[in-house]
């Protein structure tokens, strides 16, 4: 239970580095800030403990000095809140008892977390392949650094200490969606959208990417959703850029996702997009610098395969078909994506293009990746597309909520 305690205290407190926010937003900022600070600090050779102490000092100072700027006083329907909390409590019960059994979480992400907790370095013996074979050695380290921090503070690198990090991100994203949709749409619809979000099978119980696994896709979904809400509100370009920076350091597809979001953001933020690009640039440079100093193992070099696209155009339609087939799989998504497609289309007819722009651009990127991959396209789609659909669930939910609000 010490892992749960650390998770519930460390990240919301670290999130106060951006000022006092709602608990859910602070949690998500904290997850990003701790991982990103340790990563960038690591690239600069700053010891983890120094970075963490500095970050937490600033966060604690800001917690006391700057009062709440985003208090949520909305009244949400009790039934919706109840429907939101019940699955989260059940998932907490499961996570507290059932050991981790997923593939990527153990094989890639938490193995890195253990190494980070042990070596206290982002380019130490593990990442030089001198301790064990490190599959996907060049995967970004934001979430493993968060997990490593929990392990270090708990003085225990067993994965049961970090189960609540992933569940915590899911819960925080749920309540952040509720709070933001309450502002963007209306509290009643926001509450029910949060309730439906928490019941999406792929998020709640998906054995590849769900809240009970140690995959990083919920974190990507969270940072995309947070960036998207900044895009919708058009008030904080710096925060928009910070979310994009977190996204860049979370998964390999984070950087292209961030670039897509930044490109779309440029239409709404206009010149202020330059402010957003600063944190994104720092993250991208740090990631490139780190990757140049470690051996690459077994990740497919999609960028270098991009020139193959003209000769692989015949794969585009089957790839789109595969994505749609998975999106319509009832056991993974219910009728969520059916509703989302209808909602996005309706919004587009009302000249609200932002959800459509993000969903279509990101989906198009993934379809292109499927087309140029050296893998068997069907196999790759079967293994990954549900996780990739998670990344754009936030904008989809925003579209659904906008369509079902009262006039």
């Amino acid at each position: 239970m010490i892992g749960l305690l650390i998770t519930l205290v460390l990240f919301p407190l670290a999130g106060c580095v951006a000022g006092r926010r709602t608990f859910s937003e602070s949690f998500l900022i904290g997850v990003g800030a701790v991982g990103a600070a340790l990563f960038v600090g690591g690239v600069l050779g700053v010891p983890f403990v120094v970075t963490l102490v500095l970050l937490m000092s600033v966060a604690i100072a800001r917690f006391f000095w700057r009062r709440d700027e985003r208090a949520v006083n909305d009244e949400f329907p009790r039934l919706a809140t109840f429907a939101t909390i019940i699955p989260l409590l059940l998932l907490t019960f499961i996570a507290a008892i059932t050991p981790l059994t997923d593939f990527d979480g153990r094989a890639f992400w938490l193995l890195k977390a253990k190494a980070l907790a042990h070596d206290r370095s982002i380019d130490g013996p593990f990442f030089q392949n001198r301790e064990v074979w490190s599959p996907r050695n060049q995967y970004p380290l934001l979430i493993p650094l968060d997990a490593a921090t929990i392990m270090s503070l708990a003085a225990d690198s067993d994965d049961h200490q970090v189960r609540f990090l992933y569940l915590g991100i899911f819960a925080a994203l749920t309540f952040h969606i509720r709070n933001r949709l309450a502002k963007l749409v209306e509290p009643r619809v926001a509450a029910w959208c949060a309730a439906l979000f928490v019941w999406i099978p792929q998020f709640a119980i998906g054995d590849a990417g769900g809240a009970l696994t140690a995959y990083n896709d919920i974190a990507v979904a969270a940072f995309v959703a947070c960036a998207f809400f900044e895009l919708m509100e058009r008030e904080r370009p710096l925060m928009f850029g910070v979310w994009l920076a977190f996204l860049t350091l979370t998964k390999s597809e984070g950087l292209p996702l961030a670039i897509i979001l930044a490109a779309i953001g440029a239409f709404w933020f206009r010149r202020r997009i330059a402010i957003s690009l600063a944190p994104l640039a720092v993250a991208a440079i740090a990631l490139a610098a780190w990757r140049s100093g470690i051996p690459h193992t077994d990740e497919e070099p999609f960028l270098s395969r991009l020139p193959l696209l003209p000769e692989r155009l015949d794969r585009i339609l089957p790839a789109i078909g595969g994505v749609v087939r998975h999106a319509m799989t009832f056991n993974s998504w219910g009728i969520f994506w059916l509703a989302a497609i209808v909602a996005v289309t309706l919004l587009a007819t009302r000249s609200e293009w932002r959800p459509a722009a993000v969903i279509v651009a990101v989906a198009a990127m993934y379809v292109v990746v499927y087309a140029i991959s050296a893998w068997n396209t069907d196999l790759l789609i079967d293994q990954s597309v549900d996780r990739l659909l998670m990344h754009i669930a936030g904008p989809a939910l925003c579209a659904i909520s906008a369509c079902v609000r009262s006039r």
């Binding site: 153990r106 064990v132 029910w192």
Partner: protein
């Protein structure tokens, strides 16, 4: 209720419907695991793939590097090796996808302790993994019509050459009923009783008896008349070369036709050392020993022994020349 509310309700209901049952199963599973220790929970869910890691780690020193050797053609074994790393970390491991990669690794720090993954992680040896990697027999000839109760096999080997050469001696035993067949492989003196129910195919006779790699000769005694055939097999190339069964030792001196590229193999079947003149020199063959000397056309010795020529051929084959 407006149409919008109905739409929202339909989405929520569809999601609750698809999540509720699996979620309930997970809750039930968690409840059933609640009173177990973390180790027991993992064993319950992950089985041998976890239990084996713990067992291996209990048996080795913390600073002893491990070679994790996963079979390439065994589905999922590479993943079990990855998860071994996960649970064993920070124990130092070197992962090899396939035994040949381990064999070819000339790094002086290559771990000497091997972990195999067939049936779950376990400590093993190179020889055992090599035996595990073999499937099917290449020897496809009928045993001799002549039945024996005692025989010598002058060359029994289980060694690897440069890739892809993997040498074994395959044997086929046939009896009319059930027979206990005692095989002694020299010079080690390792013994194994094989029980032959009418027919028994042995892929790697040396390993089956010694549980190790090596080279020697075999004395075989059977409780019932036994028909047998033996062959040197290169499993890497598929080359199969029959090996002569020895009923009696040849008279001295032993003469061979001139074969400039062949080596002379000398087999001392006695428990006393033997000085043999062959290959232009006097060679000492240890008790129950087998040695190789340079090419010669004549082998002389103070008492009987067995000798034969062996010559490497193309594509991993071998040509034997037996004494007349």
């Amino acid at each position: 209720m407006t149409r919008r509310n109905l739409a929202l309700a339909a989405i929520v209901i569809s999601l609750v419907a698809s999540t509720a049952a699996p979620l309930a199963r997970l809750v039930s599973q968690a409840a059933s695991l609640r009173k177990l220790s973390l180790y027991e929970r993992r064993v319950r869910l992950l089985g041998n793939s976890y239990q084996g890691v713990v067992d291996v780690l209990r048996r080795v020193r913390r600073d002893e590097p491990l070679a994790l050797v996963a079979r390439v053609n065994a589905e999922g074994e590479d993943a079990v090796a990855v998860f071994f790393n996960y649970y064993a970390y920070p124990h130092t491991t070197w992962t090899y996808l396939g035994l040949p990669l381990y064999a070819l690794d000339r790094n002086p720090h290559r771990p000497k302790t091997l972990v195999g993954f067939r049936g779950g992680p376990h400590l093993t040896t190179y020889a055992a993994l090599r035996a595990e990697s073999m499937t099917g027999a290449l020897l496809d000839v009928a045993p001799s019509k002549e039945a024996r109760r005692e025989l010598l096999v002058p060359f029994v080997v289980s060694v690897d050459g440069p890739p892809p050469d993997v040498y074994t001696v395959e044997a086929i035993f046939e009896t009319d009923g059930v027979a206990n067949v005692d095989v002694v492989v020299y010079p080690r003196g390792a013994t194994r009783r094989l029980v032959v129910h009418r027919r028994l195919v042995v892929r790697d006779l040396h390993y089956e008896v010694t549980r190790d790699l090596g080279l020697g000769w075999a004395r075989i005694r059977s409780a019932a008349p036994l028909r047998a055939v033996f062959a040197l097999v290169n499993r890497g190339t598929g080359a199969v070369t029959p090996i002569r069964i020895v009923d009696s030792l040849p008279s001295l001196p032993i003469r061979f036709p001139a074969r400039p590229n062949a080596f002379v193999w000398l087999v001392n079947v006695d428990a006393a050392p033997l000085v043999v003149t062959a290959g232009g020199t006097d060679a000492l063959v240890p008790p129950h020993g087998i040695i190789r000397v340079d090419n010669d056309v004549e082998v002389r010795a103070p008492r009987p022994l067995f000798a034969f020529l062996a010559e490497k051929k193309e594509r991993g084959g071998t040509e034997f020349t037996w004494p007349q």
